[in-house]
Symmetry: C2
Subunit: 190 residues, 2 copies
DNA sequence: ATAATTTATTCAACTAGTTTAATTTTTTTT
DNA sequence: AAAAAAAATTAAACTAGTTGAATAAATTAT
């Protein structure tokens, strides 16, 4: 199991000695998923925090009319889980699906709690990570309100040029909160 | 300076002994603001994390057409700051204004960093807090996409019945991402 | 208390984005 | 390589929410 990418990422935010990195490594197991395979389905409990080594995931919900709402795209070196379900051990209201063949590292809730006790610096690591995630969510809410769909689309391709290649348009539309039809119209304009 | 409310809130999430609570208390200063006074203005750096003892605040941005977008309402026992500006020490793009006379406890960035070293449990405390905030932001994004303005309004008054009393309608409209005119039309419907 | 200012309401014309459905293009499967 | 399935495009009718402007109601200041 190759945890290099994970350790590298941890080291970007906190200092760790060899003992600590070894302790950390022991708690993770690796898993591969094929394209279209689900990491989590609605009504299941999200049992693991997952660090993406390879591949790309989509987190989405399904509303009462059966429409999908994409909330998050996640790629290499990001963490992915339904935090609410993971923390509360209650059924999730989200789906997480692999958009490409993928490889991840997983840690269970109990193990993460143990790990926090053994390597308290990880409290800091995750605090920083979630702070950043929170900040960008807030910015996203701000932009959803103040920008038109067209502006949001151009901002998206500018911020995530790689996603545009990797991810089907209809999912990008559902991330932007518009219909695939309207996205297609916007693209035609230029 | 009365830090009871702060300590009570901390104790809900982490265990602290008397030494620790005393250490914590020393780092905070208290401040009062009158209604309409600003805690933070666009282009200023957000120097403090603020714990609300009394009163109600509104965090908003102003778009290129001069329209206000309300992102957060915050009341007693919540933390309030522009996290991005606070962490990066760069100018904020948000305004934070008191909607009522208010009393807060403040801690500066350097002091908070010191405090994290002295009382590492606070890393955990803030991690948990921000996790929760992140989760509710994500839910909010989800709802903004899947619900109509009318549904969002009814959800809002159901979730925050107190806010409806305390906060002018036009701010609630700007929080919901609609015009005051349209909110007024929705209210008329029932 | 009165005047001045801000906030909320109402209405009608308007527009950004949706819906439905048919057609074309691309991707996946065999 | 062909067939099947999924994704993207196009067009036209539609609707949720906006805009602007005028009026009424509620707050704030003098």
């Amino acid at each position: 199991m190759d945890t290099t990418k994970l350790i590298e990422h941890l080291l970007k935010h906190v200092q760790l000695d060899n003992n600590e990195t070894e302790t950390i490594e022991k708690y993770f197991t690796s898993k591969t998923l094929r394209k279209k395979e689900f990491l989590l389905r609605t009504n299941e409990v999200c049992r693991t925090e997952n660090f993406i080594l390879e591949g790309c995931f989509r987190t989405y919900s399904i509303d009462e009319n059966g429409f999908e709402r994409t909330l998050i795209f996640s790629v290499e070196s990001w963490w992915i889980a339904d935090l609410l379900s993971f923390l509360t051990e209650r059924p999730s209201s989200y789906n997480i699906v692999a958009l490409e063949n993928a490889k991840i590292l997983q840690i269970k809730k109990n193990d993460l709690e143990k790990l926090y006790l053994e390597v308290p610096k990880l409290e800091r690591y995750f605090r920083i990570l979630i702070q950043n995630a929170y900040i960008s969510q807030l910015e996203r809410i701000n932009q959803n309100y103040s920008l038109t769909a067209e502006q949001r689309y151009h901002l998206f391709i500018q911020k995530h040029p790689d996603f545009v290649q990797r991810i089907p348009q209809k999912h990008i539309a559902s991330y932007l909160g518009i219909t695939p039809v309207f996205l297609s119209m916007l693209r035609k304009k230029r």
